[in-house]
Amino acid sequence: MSNKTIATPIREELINLYQNNLDLITRGSADILNQHRQEALKHFNLLDIPSQKNENYKYSKIEPLFNYEYEKYFAPKRIAFNVDDIFRCGIPELDTHLALVLNGFYLPKGEKLITLPNGLIFGSLAEAAVRFPNLVKDRYNSLAKNQTDGLVAMNTAFAQDGVFIYVPRNVVESKPIQIINLLMSDTNQMVQYRNLIVVEDGAQTNVLVCDHTLSPNRFLSNVVTEVFVGSNAQLEFVKMQNEHNDSAQLTHTYAHQQADSRLVTNVLSLHGGFIRNNLAVTLAGEGADAQLYGLYLTDRTQHTDNFTFIDHAVPNCTSNELYKGILDDQATGAFNGKIMVRRDAQKTQAYQSNNNLLLTADARMNTKPQLEIYADDVKCSHGATVGQLDMEALFYMRARGIGEREAKLLLMFGFAHDVIKRISIDTLRERIDDMVNKRLRGELSRCHNCPMHCC
C-alpha cells in the first residue's frame, strides 16, 4: 500500500460537487444523516473509487462508470407527469404495501410516512429521521463500512433520502412491502440513496425491491441499505434488478442478525448493463440463520458481480448460499463468496455454491469461494462450477421431439428455477418464473410493462 494519494479527477470532481452543494444536500435531508457526512467524505477522499487493484473489485471496472457526465440532483426534481400513468408494477395479483422511490427520493402519494394499525412504519428515510429519531439515530450508518469502501463512504456523504421500514416487536406482517426504485430523467443521472430496514425482536415481514429504468438515459446508482433483524425475527428480502443496458447499479447491503433470527435474501439480476452487488451479513446472535440466494441472467456486454460476505461471529449459526448465473454472448460475471468463521464460533454450519452456465465461448465468469475458518468444530463446504449446457440432456430432449431452442430454454429455465423456487410468496414466485422465462426467450429486452421501450 502506498501512502501517496494522487487525487483522480473523478474524486476531485465529486468532492467539489459535495462542497459546492453542501447547503442543498443538508437542507434536503435530516440531521441524523447530515451528522455523518463530513467523516464519510474524509474516508472517500482516502479511499477513492475502487480500482481493480483493490482485491475486492478485481473483476469489476468501477472507475470507467464515472467517466460520463451525470446530472446530480439534491432535491426531488419536479416531474411533469404522474408516474402512475407510465409505470404499473407487473405483478397484479401481488397485494403489497407500496413505496415508490424516484431518482433516489421517496415519492409520497400523500403522507411521507405511513403507519399501519399494527405499528409498522414505512416511507421516507429523511422524514423518519425527523419524526422518529430514536428509531433511526443509533442504527443509521452503524453497519455501513465507510472505512473500507470508497463507494459506501461516497453514499454516506451524499445520500439524502431513501426508504425506511420499521416492523415493531412481535408484529407479523404478511402483506409484503414493495419498494419500487424508478429512474427517469431527460439527462444522464447519478443517484445515491439510502435504505434502513428494522425488523424488531419476534417480528416477521417480506420486503420486495424492484429496480427499473424508465427513460433511455445513462444512469448510475450507488445505494446503501442497512438491515437489522432482531432476536427471533424473520425477514425475507427479494431484490429484482431490471434495468436497461446503459444503467450501472452499485448496491451495498449490510444485514445484522440477532439470536435465532432468520434472513432470506434473493437477489435476481434479470437485466442491467453493469451490476455490482455487495451483500454482507453478520450472524451476531446464536441460532441465527441466513439463506442467501442469487440469480443473474446476462447477455450482450452486460456485467454482473456479486460479492457476498457472511460473518459467523458467534457459535451455533447456520448459513446457506446459492448463486446461479447464465451468461450469453460476451457477457461477463463474477462471484465472490467470503465466509468468515470467527474463533469460538463453534458448531457453525456454512454451505456455499455458485453454478454458472456459459452459452458462448466469449462469455466469461470468475468465481471465487473464500472460506476463512478460525474455529475447529464446524461444518463448511463450498463448490463452484462453470460449464455449458448438458449436450446429453439436449439430445435426450430432442429425441422426444422438443426442438433445440426449446430444449435449451427448458434446461436454462430448470437451472434458474432452482433459485427462484426459494421465494416463499407464491404469486411473486410464479411471476418471477414468468419473467425469467421471458428473459431467457429474449422477450424482456425492455423493462416490463413500460411503454417507453428504452432499450
Binding site: R398, I402, E404
Partner: protein, 250 residues
C-alpha cells in the same frame, strides 16, 4: 415403414456399421441381437440422429422420407422413439414440463392445438396407469434420482405419451429385475397396434419371452449375419454367439 440399405457408419474414424440392410413393415416386431460391440447401439444412434455417429454410405428411409436428412426432433415428430439404454437425468426440468413440451411439439407438427392443462394431466394419469409408474416419479425432475428400473419404466411411460410409429428399445431389459421386466414388457405390449412397429435391441432372450418378435436378426461386426423367426432367439440363448462368430458372414 423403415428401409435401411447398405448402411455404413463410423464413430471417431472407426467403422462400426459395415453395410446394414433391413426392411421393417408396419405392425411387425423385430429383435436385433448380437454380442457386445457388434454395433447394435450404434444402429439405434444412427436412427435417432445422434451427432456422434457419422454415416458414410447407404440410406435410411422412414415412410418414404429420407431419415438421415432430418434433425433428431423431426425424426421424433415423424414417429420414431428411442428408449434409451441409459436415460439421462435432467435436474431442474420437471417431468410434467418435459412431457408437456414434447407432446405439444408433436401436436404442433401435426397441425393440432396444444392440449389444455387439464386434458394434458388427464392423459398423464391414464398413461401412468398403463405402465404402472409411481405417480410421485412424474412430479420430480426428469429421471433425477430414479432407480435403474424406474428410469426404464419412465422410458416406456414417455413412449405411451408420444405414441410412436416406430419404437426402438435399446437394451431396455438391462438392469431390470424380473418384476420390472414384466411391467416394461406389458407396457410395450399394451401399446402395440397393427400400424406401429417395435425394434427390440437386446443381448438376451428373456425380454423376448414377453415381447414376442416376428423376426430376429443377429448383428455381428457391423453386419446382419443371420435373420430368422423367433426360434433364433432361443437357439442363441442355448448356444451363445460363438457359432455365429465362427460361421460364415453371409
Amino acid at each position: 415403414m423403415l428401409t435401411i440399405k447398405d448402411l455404413h457408419a463410423k464413430i471417431n474414424d472407426k467403422e462400426i456399421l459395415k453395410g446394414i440392410n433391413l426392411e421393417v413393415k408396419a405392425g411387425e416386431i423385430h429383435a436385433i441381437m448380437g454380442p457386445n460391440g457388434s454395433g447394435k447401439s450404434t444402429l439405434a444412434s444412427v436412427l435417432t440422429g445422434r451427432e456422434l455417429v457419422e454415416v458414410t454410405h447407404g440410406s435410411v428411409t422412414f415412410n418414404g422420407k429420407d431419415l438421415l436428412e432430418m434433425a433428431p426432433e423431426i425424426r421424433a415428430r415423424e414417429g420414431i422413439f428411442l428408449s434409451f439404454q441409459y436415460p439421462i437425468e435432467i435436474p431442474g426440468v420437471s417431468m410434467v414440463n418435459f412431457m408437456k413440451a414434447a407432446v405439444n411439439e408433436h401436436r404442433k407438427y401435426r397441425g393440432l392445438e396444444p392440449l389444455s392443462a387439464s386434458d394434458f394431466l388427464k392423459m398423464m394419469r391414464e398413461r401412468k396407469e398403463l405402465v404402472e409408474i409411481d405417480s410421485a416419479l412424474t412430479n420430480r425432475s426428469v429421471n433425477e434420482g430414479f432407480s435403474g428400473g424406474e428410469k426404464k419404466k419412465n422410458e416406456i411411460f414417455q413412449m405411451a405419451m408420444l405414441e410412436p410409429k416406430l419404437a426402438i428399445l435399446d437394451e431396455t431389459d438391462s438392469g431390470l429385475d424380473i418384476d420390472a421386466l414384466r411391467v416394461v414388457a406389458n407396457g410395450v405390449n399394451k401399446l402395440k397396434r397393427p400400424d406401429n412397429t417395435v425394434i427390440v435391441i437386446t443381448h438376451y432372450q428373456r425380454l423376448l419371452d414377453y415381447i414376442v418378435p416376428d423376426y430376429v436378426h443377429v448383428l455381428y461386426n457391423g453386419r446382419i449375419v443371420k435373420s430368422a423367426g423367433k426360434e433364433l432367439a432361443l437357439e442363441l440363448e442355448e448356444k451363445g454367439y460363438d457359432w455365429i462368430k465362427k460361421g460364415d458372414n453371409a
